[in-house]
Symmetry: C2
Subunit: 119 residues, 2 copies
DNA sequence: CTGGATCCCTCAGGATACTG
DNA sequence: CAGTATCCTGAGGGATCCAG
């Protein structure tokens, strides 16, 4: 319904952090950015191998979304077969730095025995 | 099915950042932590007013989850009517600091005209 | 090789009513 | 006041097949 959707939007509109998180919170997304940061620019198939378990559908969705968000570049070579390479943009890199901060705390908490509660 | 669940768990297990994000990525969660940080300890009803649009069900879920995660404390006074107060723990505070970092970048990107892509 | 198009199913989350 | 108990819907995401 529209009213509910509007509420959700209002929520996103009034909280910058949730807005930013909405980009990263989808499944595989954070890991995907991390993979691109660790291994440098990668092709579609390579990503699929580097992120085991992800389906082509979701991988495509994520890549399109992150591209639309300006977090990564898509470079297509008009060869046969086609070669498409994805790489982090400046903004994607900046986000990765933030997430490294999260990662440090996450690993420290891990070491302290912390676990996320079951959903 | 178990296999899919297992895959999800494996994904969470191998990526500390996603594991940490899994706590914060739920709707209202980031905003809720922010509210508690800005306004100090609050009671259930006050939170419901400070986070307009959230249902009692989801608010309860979030509070329980964050408590289980050790991010906030629940203090119950055995009065009639009951008074329950929620406050950030040390860990909750630490997480808030991280999220302030996200908030800075989020607001800067906003100022630069950035918007998250439509889901 | 890089996806697009479907089908299907689970589950997060909204609305509402009720209780100690 | 501070929740619990249901019911319900939509979106997220997996599996599979097809296409340029």
């Amino acid at each position: 319904m529209k009213a509910e959707r509007a509420l959700h939007e209002k929520n996103l509109n009034c909280c910058p952090v949730e807005r930013l998180l909405s980009v990263v919170s989808g499944q595989w997304t954070a890991y995907l950015l991390w993979v691109l940061h660790e291994n440098g620019p990668q092709r579609f198939g390579a990503l699929q191998r580097l992120v085991p378990g992800i389906s082509t559908k979701v991988l495509t969705e994520r890549l399109r979304m992150l591209e639309a968000a300006g977090l990564l570049d898509r470079e297509q070579a008009a060869t046969i077969p086609p070669q498409v390479t994805y790489s982090l943009t400046e903004r994607g890199l900046e986000l990765r730095v933030l997430m490294n901060g999260l990662g440090e705390v996450a690993r420290r908490w891990d070491a302290e025995g912390w676990r996320p509660p079951a959903r």
